[in-house]
């Protein structure tokens, strides 16, 4: 085809495969302008922006990663704190239980003691009352018996009886008897 063209072209005034000079010049200039603009201005421009964009995207990813790491660490921290708090609560509960038990035991002991005290006091009171009553009774009984005997005998045996301690002895015997039968 090229040979054909060349042959055909040879018959013409201008061979299409032989470049005309002025066109070469214009072609060179036209391309040089395009190349110069791309080389010096436009491509450096866009490369800078592309680089910035790449950095922005990578920066964004890095930021997100950092945020995630931080969130993770905060979560760990919270979990640790929560576990600690749980542990603490369990410890406190245990302690409270122990303290409560101790308190109850103490209270119980105290109550026991107070009860015993009260009981003891009651006992001694009763004993004292009984003694006082017995004493009073003994005197009264002695006196009454003496008076009664005096009336029967016709003279006062008071002094004598008192001195002789007969009545006392009698009453003691009664006491002893009562003790024995009780």
């Amino acid at each position: 085809m090229i040979a054909n063209l060349v042959q055909l072209a040879a018959e013409e005034e201008q061979n299409p495969l032989i470049p005309p000079g002025p066109e070469l010049l214009v072609g060179t200039i036209a391309f040089a302008i395009v190349f110069f603009f791309f080389w010096k201005k436009l491509l450096p421009n866009i490369n800078k922006v592309l680089e910035e964009r790449r950095e922005a995207i990578e920066g964004g990813i890095e930021k997100a990663e950092a945020a995630q790491t931080e969130a993770q660490s905060v979560l760990e921290q919270y979990k640790a704190q929560l576990a600690e708090a749980r542990h603490e609560a369990a410890r406190l509960r245990q302690e409270a239980q122990e303290q409560g038990a101790q308190l109850i035991a103490e209270m119980r002991a105290e109550g026991q003691r107070q009860r015993e005290e009260i009981v003891a006091a009651g006992h001694s009171q009763i004993e004292a009352d009984r003694k006082a009553a017995a004493q009073a009774l003994r005197q009264d009984v002695g006196q009454l018996a003496t008076e009664l005997a005096g009336k029967l005998v016709g003279e006062s045996l008071e002094e004598h009886a008192r001195q002789s301690r007969t009545i006392d002895r009698f009453l003691d015997e009664l006491d002893a008897k009562a003790e024995a039968t009780r």
Binding site: M1, I2, L8, A9, E12, Q14, P16, L17, I18, P19, P20, P22, E23, L24, V26, G27, T28, A30, F31, I33, V34, F35, F37, F38, W39, K41, L42, L43, N45, I46, K48, V49, L50, E52, R53, A56
Partner: protein, 256 residues
């Protein structure tokens, strides 16, 4: 020229010759030159709009420009030469691709309707530039002897036929290569333009009485050819740049 008796104005070489629009001191400025300069203006204007005040978040024009730029940079240059070696040649390849593409596109633009690259001078200039990039680069990279070995594919393991191989390689690489590089683009555009003119003229010429259906067919063919040419224009720009990259890559390669 093609007076074959029926008066059909067949397209021919005359379709590629233009009367000068004006003449300055013997310099004849014609339509093709005008189109070449408009192509420059279009490329520079578009990419100035796209990249002149490039923003981090691109607008529409910048996005289109970036897509085109990325196509050449990543799709052609990095593919063939790798990122490290290729980076330096990105501006040249981007300029070549878009300049050639716009020059080709004139073929189907109304009023222009002529591919600038179908005039051999323009592909020749561009192929020459590529040639004068890769030939010195070969010697710069491999030294004088190494450069010749690279170009001729000289290899002792080939035995006595190494001289034959070296001769053929020398002939094909150093002498024929720039010529084929330019003519590949030129011939495609030349043939495409001939076809378009042929069908366009025929649809007009056949438009009388009983030939009207034939004119219709011719017109449909014109439309189809425009679509096909749009494809060929892009492909040829791509092929030209791809070859330029592979020549430079060959010059940089350790073994041919």
């Amino acid at each position: 020229m093609s007076d074959n008796g029926c008066g059909f104005p067949a397209p021919g070489l005359h379709s590629f010759l233009f009367k000068p629009i004006f003449t300055v001191g013997g310099f004849e400025f014609n339509k093709v030159m005008l189109l070449a300069l408009i192509a420059t203006t279009v490329v520079v204007t578009f990419f100035y709009a796209a990249f002149g005040k490039a923003k981090l978040v691109p607008g529409k024009v910048q996005m289109i420009g970036e897509a085109g730029y990325d196509f050449v940079r990543r799709g052609i240059v990095y593919e063939t030469m790798g990122k490290k070696d290729g980076e330096k040649y990105v501006p040249l390849m981007v300029s070549l691709f878009f300049f050639i593409w716009i020059m080709n596109i004139w073929s189907v633009v109304p009023l222009a309707q002529f591919p600038v690259s179908s005039v051999i001078a323009y592909p020749f200039v561009l192929a020459g530039i590529v040639y004068f990039v890769w030939v010195p680069l070969t010697f710069k990279r491999h030294g004088f002897v190494g450069g010749w070995k690279n170009i001729t594919g000289y290899d002792n393991s080939l035995g006595p036929i190494k001289w034959l191989v070296a001769f053929i390689e020398f002939f094909s690489n150093l002498l024929v290569r720039p010529f084929t590089h330019a003519v590949r683009l030129f011939a495609n555009m030349f043939a495409g333009h001939l076809m378009l003119v042929m069908f366009t003229v025929a649809s007009w010429y056949l438009l009388n009485s009983w030939l009207i259906p034939a004119a219709g067919v011719s017109f449909v063919m014109t439309i189809a050819m425009i679509g096909f040419e749009l494809f060929v224009q892009a492909v040829q720009a791509y092929v030209f740049v791809l070859l330029a990259c592979s020549y430079i890559q060959g010059a940089l390669a350790e073994h041919h």
